[in-house]
Amino acid sequence: MKRNNLIFALGAILILLAGFFAPSIVTNPFYFFAGYVIVQYIVIATGWNVLGGYAGYINFGAAAFFGSGVYLSAFLFNAFGLPLWVGIIGAAALGAILGLAMGYLTLQIQGVYFAIATLGLVIVLETIVHNLPGLGGARGMAVYGPAPPEWSGGPVQYVFFVILIIAVACVALARWIEHSWIGRGLRAVRASEDAAECSGVPTLKLKLMACSISGAMLAAAGAPYPFYTNFVEPVTAFSLLIGLNAIAMPLIGGTRSWAGPIIGAIILASAQQIATVTISSELNILFVGVVLIAFVALAPNGLLGLAKRKSAGTAQ
C-alpha cells in the first residue's frame, strides 16, 4: 500500500507540474478551454462518487452544489473583491453545510425517494437565485475577474491550473476515503445499511460525512466557473445536465474505485467536447443517454468492473 501511495503522490505531482508548464508548451488556448470542462467534470464525478458510488446514495442534485459554489464565488468576488482561493474555500464550506443538511434527509428517506429529494434541492436553490437581485436574479451576473498572475500564461490557462489543483486534491481525498475506515464503513452501508448498523458501523455519522465531503467537492468544482465564463446565470449554473453527467461519468468508469469517475469523466467529457464542435449537439445529448443505458445494462460496474471481470476470467 505504501508503494501505491508513493506512486499516486508522484503521479499527482507530475500532473500538477504538467499543468503548470503546459502554457509554455501548448500555445493554443482552445485546449485549455476544452480541458477546463473535462477537468471540471473529473471533480464533479469524483465528488458525486463519494456519496453515490461508495455509499450507494444516488444524488440527482449535483447541480445544486455546483451552482451554489458558482454563485458564492461570483458573489464574493463581485461584492467584496475576494480572490478566487477564498471563493474555493468558501464554496467548499457552503457545499459541506448543504451536504450536511441533505445528509439529514437520509435519516428519513432512502433509495429513489432520496434521489427525488435531491432533485428538489436544485429547484429550490435555482428559484432562490432567480429571486435574489443581489445575485443578478434571472438575468445573471457578469464577473470580470482580476488579471491572472504573470506565470499563468493567461486567464484561461490560470483557471485551468486552478481546477487541476482542485481535481488532484479531490481525487487524493476520494482515494484516501476509499482505503480508510470511512470507505470500508461506506461500503458496508451500500451493501446493507441494517446489517452495517447491527455490526456496529456508525452509519449515520458516515452518511453525514459522505454527504458533506461530496457536497464540498461538488461546490468547489463550481467556484472557478465564473472566472471561466465571466458570466453566471441560474439556468446554466443549476443545469440538470450537470446532474446527469455527474451520474453518468462514475457509472461509465466504475463507481467502486476512485479511478472510475476519472476514467468516465475523461471519456464522456472529451466525447462531449468533440461532439459539440463536430456533430449535432442533439446527438451529443443522445450519446450521453445511450452510453448511460448501455453501461447500466451491460456493465453496471463500469469499465473498471469489466476489466476486473476480464482479468478474473483470465486468471481462472
Binding site: 478551454f33 438575468r139 445573471g140 459539440t276 449537439s281
Partner: protein, 423 residues
Amino acid sequence: MTTRRQFNKLAAMGTLGLAAPTILSSKAFAADKPIKIGASVSLTGPLASTRAGEIGYQLWRDDVNAAGGLLGRKVEFVIYDDQSSASNVPAIYSKLVDVDKVDVLISPYGANLSAPLMPFIKQRNLFMVGMFALAGNDRARSNKYFHACPWGPDSMLGWARGFFDIAKSINAKRIAIINSDLEFSSSAAQGGAQVAKEYGMEVVMNQSYPPNTSDFSAILRNINNVAPDAVFVCSYPADSAAIIRGVKEIGINDSVQIFGGSMIGPQYGSLLGSLGEDLNGLVNITTFVPEPTLQSPGIESFFKRYTPIAIEQKLDPLGFYIPPFYYVAGQIIEAGVKGSESVDIEKMAQYLHANPIDTIVGKVAFNDIGDWTKRRTLMIQIQNVKGNDINQFREPGKQVILDPAELKSGNLITPYNAARKAS
C-alpha cells in the same frame, strides 16, 4: 551511384517540397482563401427558436458569393451549436479563433450567451458583430464590437421609451407596470419605471410575477382596481399569450388608453397566428414589420427568399423579428471589408465608426461602443386582424408603426377597449 547533377536535382526538389507549405500559406496565396466568419447559433435548447436567424446568414453569404465575394474572396461561415448554454460559449469561440482561424466573429443570440464572450474579445482584441444583446458592450466597451440590432444607445431605457412617448402624447398620467421575474423583462420594467419618472408619470402599480404564472386573473383585476391610463407589460411568450387571453376573459378597465409595450412573443409567427384577432389593440415593441415606411428592394428580396426556406425547415414562417438582422450582421462585415478594402480588423473598425452603412433595414451609424447612434426599435399597434390566418400579417396595416415618428405608418386607436373591438 548518384551523380552530382542528380544530387542537386534531388536537393532542389526536396527544398521546394519542404518550402511549399510555407509558400502556399504566405500572403501571396492568402487572397485565394475564403474569408471565414465564425458564430454559434442555438440550434438546440431553450433558445432554439432563434435558429431561424441562421437563414439570414446563409442568404447574405449566397448574395455576397454570387457577386464575387469580398475583395475577390469567397465568404464561408463556421457555425457551431451552443445548445443555448452559456457554458459552451467560451470553448466554441476559442475554437473558432484558435483552431478554425476565422477572420471575424458574430456573437451568439442575446445577452446571456454573449456576456461570456465580451472579456474574451476585449482581451484578444477581436472584431465581433453583436446579436440582440441589450447593453451588450456597455461594460466591456470594445471598439471592435458592432451591434446588428436597433436598440440604439442607452438601450436599457431606450427599450421602453417608445411606449412612454406614445403614452405621453395622449396625456397618460397613471401607469401600471407588470413584469415576469426573468432577465430582461425585469430590466425592461426597471427601464419603464425610470422613463415614467422622467416624464412625470405616476406608477400606480408595479408588480412582478413568477415566470411560470399562467393565470393572470388576479393581476388583471388589480389593474382594473387601480384604473391606470396605460399598462406597460414586460412578458415572455407563454405569459404574453396568457395575459392576452386573460384580458379577453376578464376585460380591462375603460380608463386604459394603451396596453402592451414590452411583450415578447407577439413578434413570432406562431403567436401571431394562434392569438390572431385577440391581439387587436396591443401596442408593442418589435424590430421589423412589413409597413410601407420600412420597405426596400433589399428587404422584399430577403423575405421572398426567406419564407420558402423557413416553411420547409418548419421555422418561423414570418421571420420579422430576428432573421433580417442576421442578414444585417453580414452586411456590417461586408461594409467593413469593402469600405476599408481589407480584412484588417483595425481598419474595418475604423471605417465602421466613421461611416454610416446601408442595410436592408435602413441606414445605420455606430457610436463608440458599436451601438446604433439612433434608436430604431419600433412601437407598433396591432390593428384590423381578422381570424387566425398568419398570412394576413404579411400585409401592411396589421402592425402599424407608431414610433419612431419618421417611420410612422398609421395612427393609434385608443382607448384600448375600442382598439380591441375595431376591425
